[in-house]
Each structure stands twice: as structure tokens, then as C-alpha cells.
Symmetry: C2
Subunit: 459 residues, 2 copies
Amino acid sequence: MRTRLAAVGALLSLTAAAHAQSIADVSAQLRDKALAGSPAFPILESLTTEIGPRPAGSPAQKRAMEWGLAKLTALGFQNVHAEPFTVTAWVRGPEAAEVVAPFPQKLAILGLGGSVPTPKEGIEAEIVLFHTYADLLAAPVGSLAGKIAVVTQPMVRTQTGEGYGAINPVRTSGPSEAARRGAIAYLHRSLSTAENRLPHTGALRYAPDAPKIPAAALSVADAELLDHMAARGQPIRIRLSLDSHTVPNAPAWNIVGEATGREKPDEVIVIGGHLDSWDPGTGAIDDGAGVSITTGAAKLINDLPRHPRRTVRVVMFGSEEMGGAGEAYAARHKDEVAKIVLAGESDEGPGPVWSVQYPKGALATPAMKAMSGVLAPLKVYVGFTPATNSGSDVEGLQILGVPVIDLHPDATRYFDIHHSADDTLDKVDPKALDQSTAAWAALIYAAAESDIDFRAIAK
Amino acid sequence: MRTRLAAVGALLSLTAAAHAQSIADVSAQLRDKALAGSPAFPILESLTTEIGPRPAGSPAQKRAMEWGLAKLTALGFQNVHAEPFTVTAWVRGPEAAEVVAPFPQKLAILGLGGSVPTPKEGIEAEIVLFHTYADLLAAPVGSLAGKIAVVTQPMVRTQTGEGYGAINPVRTSGPSEAARRGAIAYLHRSLSTAENRLPHTGALRYAPDAPKIPAAALSVADAELLDHMAARGQPIRIRLSLDSHTVPNAPAWNIVGEATGREKPDEVIVIGGHLDSWDPGTGAIDDGAGVSITTGAAKLINDLPRHPRRTVRVVMFGSEEMGGAGEAYAARHKDEVAKIVLAGESDEGPGPVWSVQYPKGALATPAMKAMSGVLAPLKVYVGFTPATNSGSDVEGLQILGVPVIDLHPDATRYFDIHHSADDTLDKVDPKALDQSTAAWAALIYAAAESDIDFRAIAK
């Protein structure tokens, strides 16, 4: 009996191995097709040229929605449609800042997304400059009364992008922390690894228990200028003027297209990037790249003579920067969520991808194990630790139990550009975009063709 | 007789060689002192922090003049004074450009120095896009009637900076060439080797026989965006709005300080950079660097326990970008010009310097020949061909017969920054500034201590 069981086991392994190999063979073909010139760059060129900046809730994002539907249709996807939701749109107006004394100079700034405006005549006040965020947090309540708080802590460059996470509270929480201490406005050194004069914006998050004060990012060069001025020990006065307004219940859309599964069309893998972008650039790396890579990968899969068993669904999320798209998606699909077998998001630039983290347990499955060999020529390795997060647009699904896959693009230069006017097409290397598309196409095909129950194996 | 003459010749050579060596020894000391931390960077930090942008004829340039007098005095120079002249100041107002159709997007632009404004309501017209300047020149008269001409030819990156000279007519002459063909406005790709969203300004030169049309520089990214749009073959409409005004007879100054010569104080070597700058940046590399390098070099010479024989005069020229300072200087000093034995200007950035060209004939003099060894550790070589030009501020002197010396800083990255908002202190490597200062101090000391008649040996 023992021998027979072993023989059956060996036979099953052989079958599993053969199946894994046949999946890997098609994945390798997709990889090579992407490397030879994927659909991603033309998609990105079209989006940045024909639409440009497209903040959630703006007229430009309506044009982007129409563009997305037309593009997914033209690319041959099935079930192309828009899923509407609403957002509170934040609309930037004219902005200006200058040092009034002791050394009059204009400053390059960008208001933070969600900031309240200043009074029409602006705010003029003395600054208190903190070289680190910890210094601001150490300031006593009331100590900044009537002052403009300025934080000039620099961001650390990393391959993983973790330097951004580490500095993020300076932008998101800094305004309320300064307000709690009495400040009437807030400026911080852009969360940027570049050294140019272009400020980087991004959303702030007002605490419910603190006054809402106007807040803006200084360019790196301007933050350093203030450091130099402050070293002289004289009081520095700044005049700040920020205009903005909000539009409640503005329309937004998640745009969807599918490569329908040939055997289990109701089992779905959701991949995507976000279609909205900040206003100063054309949203090329954030996140036209993610939209293009995932759409390009899905297109390659959709063009296969034999679709994978499961459905590959590409989603262009409609409001990542100010939030809301992922929540809207999860809410709308909560009844379907048990059938969403895997989700992944591309929202850290054009790449190249350098590593991937699988959902827990997947590394032990023959099909996913075989992918190491497919990814190796792309210079991508499979991490030993499981994915914990794949981006804020699929987080809503993840909270509902959907396993996630996390592909890591090299973020070394990403934060030179992101959230600034410099986020334009010329920063994107088409070869890197193709490499990323190759990795996505190969991995998503493997997951869609396999019968792996990612939920079950995670337990 | 022959033997005696040879002996006398040999003795003279020996004396000349010994003198050259003693000069080289002091030059080497100055070099090493500069390398250990020259006065240049603190001067530049002071100028960019305390003054910032300082266009000729502006209130900021008046502050810069006061700064210059105070700085030269504090550094211990003799005969510190300002030499006034007048300029027509050009003052930038609000500017904006956008693609109206077929793909609405804002464009990052900077009006060119000297441009006439648009009508208050702006100009809206279809564009004609030329990928090269030659294509524009080939367009027939009248062919651009009612159109906005756009030239998107890119600049070539070079170590020498010659790529700038080659592309310069696109900015200086392009507006009038377009106007001659009927264009009502002119846009061109910034004369820049960077790839960011910051446009680079600069002066235009209207031809007397062409209509004056408004003209602006597009950022490199925006020029490429228009290239992408144009590739679709649909008509492109742009709205352009430029405001500016001029102030005739605005005051400007050349600021002067001297290290008085110990034996021949009336023989003068003039060195300098220009104090005026474009408005978007803080004028760090253009030309705070040149001011700081030449002032720093002169300061090191002035601090010697024994001044060189001739006077070293440092001049901060007051209007290079829009012209006028060099002409004013030459006109004022025309009676003294026979006693100005040499002139040199630093106006191509912080360096490092990689080569130097002497005035014609100087390479054969023992004192200047010995400098090759002093410069070698700085990685500077002496060119075989004589200097033909050393910058537009000393050109007026050169026309009057003053020999020039030309130190070449590495310009590989200079045009990423120059004339843009990115021209700020953080772009300057203090070590490069010290190296440049070392080369200037060594060479100018040698020329000032020697008795070389640069005019005579050029014949």
C-alpha cells in the first residue's frame, strides 16, 4: 500500500509539475512579448498627451474616464464599463509665498491637497523653523501662537520607497500638529529626493480635534534657503497666500475591463493602477505608469489564443490621491468578494520591477514556484516573506479577505518626481515600463491559469 | 663673443627661471590655500541667501550693489566703490500658456527677457511646429500669418558649453525670424540640457526690421508634449499671455575692489563675474559663482603678506544678462585701458575648471610656462591655442586691445540649470568652487607678479 500511495503521490506531483511547467512556458512567452515592445508605453503616451493632469472630481478626470473606456474597448477587453462614485474634489487656486524680511525673496510652493485657503489678503507672520519633525512635536502647546511653523527635515532616498513612508507624517499630520501648538499656517520641505525648485504636493489629513490651518510644501531648494536664512538668527517673516475650494459630491469613476476566464469566468483576479493624478504634472509616473503596466499586461493576456481559466480584470481606480476609489470599489463588490481570488496594484512608478512578494503560502505551490525561473531573466526575485499590502486602491478588498500580490518597482528615483510638475512622460523609460509589464503579465497569467486557492493556502 | 653672449643668455635664463619658480611657489601656496577652503562659497551663500534674484535695474540689484560694497570692504579690498551707469530694465509680469485644443493642458513657460507683452486678453492662435530652427528659416515669408510659431529643437550637452552657442539663435533671433514670416507670437524649447518642467529664460534680440512679437521659452517637458500632440496631425491651438514692462534709465552699477600692486599699482589686471541675474532662480551658478570665484581668488591674493607687483582689480559687473555693463566699463576706463595688462571673466558656472587658454604668446614666457606644473594637480591643462574671448563683460576691454585669459569650467551640467528657477545654491559643489578659485588665484597671481607685457608678446 505504501508503495502504491507513494506512486500515486509521485504521479500527482509529476502532473502538478507538468502543469506548472506548461503555465511557466506561456508566462515566459508573455514575458518575451512584453520585452519586445509592450502595449504599455503607447497607453501612457496617449494618456499624458491627450488628457494630462486629472485630479479626482475634475473636468479632466471626466475626459480621462471617457479616454479609459475608449482605450479598454479599443484594446479588445470584455465587459468594459465605468463604476461611478462621488468624491469631494479639491481645486487649487492661485498660490504664492515670499520672505518679507530680513531678505525679501519669492518662495516656490505648492498647497497641500485638502488645505483650507488663507484669507484673501494672505497671512503674514514670523516663522518658527524646525530642522526635524521631532522638534516640532517636542514644542509645547501654545508655543507657536500666531506663527507659521516650518519643518525642513529632508527625505531619505531608498530603493524600496520606505523613505517616503518614514517622512510621510511631516505632510499628512504636520499641519494639525502645528495647529495644536498654536501655528496659523504650516510649511514643510517637499517630500522629495530631488534637489530642484519644483515643490511636491500631496494630501494632508486634518485631525478632527485641531484647527484647520493652511499648509503648503516648499521646494527642496527653498527649504534649504530658509535653513540658510535661519542660521543668521534674525526673525524671518513670510507672507503666504493659498486659494482653493472644494466641490462636494463630484463625480468619479472606477473604469473596468476584463479578459474573461475560459473555464472559471466568475473567479477574478483584480489588477490596476489609479487614473487620477495631481494637477501640476501630467501624471506619468503617478500613476499613468501603473495604469499602463497593468492594462498592458492584461492586454497581452487578453490577446492569447486561449484565455487563462480565470478572469483577469483591470481596474483604473478613480481617486487614489485624495482617497475614496478603493473603498468605493470594495463596497460595490462586497458580494462578489469571495470570488476575487487575488488582487494587485501598481502605484510606485514605471520600474523596473526588482522583486515580488506572493500571498502567504503561494511560494510552496508548483505553479508559483516555477515562476522564479520565468522572472530571473527580468532580474526579479521572489521574496521569502509574504505580501502584506499592495497599494491603497486594493486595500479595501484586502480588508475583506482578498489575498494580494506585491510587485516592487525600483523607487530610487520615483520620489524625485512624484506629486510635482516634473511628473511627465519624458521621465519614463519605455524599456523599464516593458520590463514591468513583462513581470505583471507573467505572474498574473500564472495565477489566472492555476487553480491555486490563495485564500485557503494562507491559513 | 659668442661664448660670452651665450653665457649672459644662460644667466638671464637662469634668473628668469628662478623668478618663474618663485612665482610658481607662491601660486602653489595660493592654490593649496584655496583647496583647503576658499572664501568663495561663503560669499556665494551670502549673496544667494541675503539677496537672491537681482535683475539689472531692479530694486534687488540696488540691494546687491550695497551688498557688494559691504562685502568687498569687509574682505579688506582697497579702493572699493561703485561705478554707476543706466540700463533699460525689463520687468516680468504674470505669464501663462495653455493648449486650448485638441487636448487642453497648461504649459510651463517663461517669457524671454526683452519680450513685448501680449495684449491684456492674451493671444489665442493655431501653432505651426518646427522640429528644427532650419525648418523655421525655410518657411516662406507670410506662411506663418496669424500663427504662433513653435521651435522644439533640442540643445546638445557639451563639456565646453558650445552646445549653447550652437542653439542660441533659436532664442535670440527666432522671435524676429518668426515675425518676418507673419507669426504673431513665438515659443521655443528652452535652451536647456535638463529634462524637467522648469523653463529657461534669456534675452531675445529683436531685429530692427521685423515686427516685435511676444516670445517665451517652453520647458523641455512641455516642448516634448507639443511634439507628441503634433504627431497626431490635428490643429493645435494655444493661448498665451505675457505681461512685462520696461523701465528706461534704471540705475545699475559695476562694483570694484582692488588688491593694490606693490611696485606697479597703475598696471591693472581686471577679473570678475556679473552680479545681475535672471529673476526665477537666485543666480547661484549664473553668475554668483563667477563673482564668488574671482572675488575669492582676489581675496587670497590681497591677504598675501606681500602683494604682487601689479594691481588685481575685481569687478562685479552690473548688467550682463540684458547687456550694458561691459560697454559701460570700457567707456569709463578707456583712458586707463593701456595700463590694463590683462582681463578675465568667470561666467560659466562653479566649475571645476578643466583647462585655460592664455593670451597669445604667453605660453612661451617662463612665468606662465611654469604654471602648468601648478595647475596639473588641479586637473587643469594649459591649451595650446590662445584665448579668443573671455566673456561679454570684458569684451569691451578686449575690443580696446586688452589681452584676455580664459579659464574653462566644466559646463557639462551648467545648462541643466542656467536661466531657470533651478539656479540655486544647492546646485553648487563647494569643492568645485574651491578648485576654480584655486586655479584663478594661482594664474592671476602669476600674471600680476610677473613683468610680462601681454600686449607686446601677442604681436
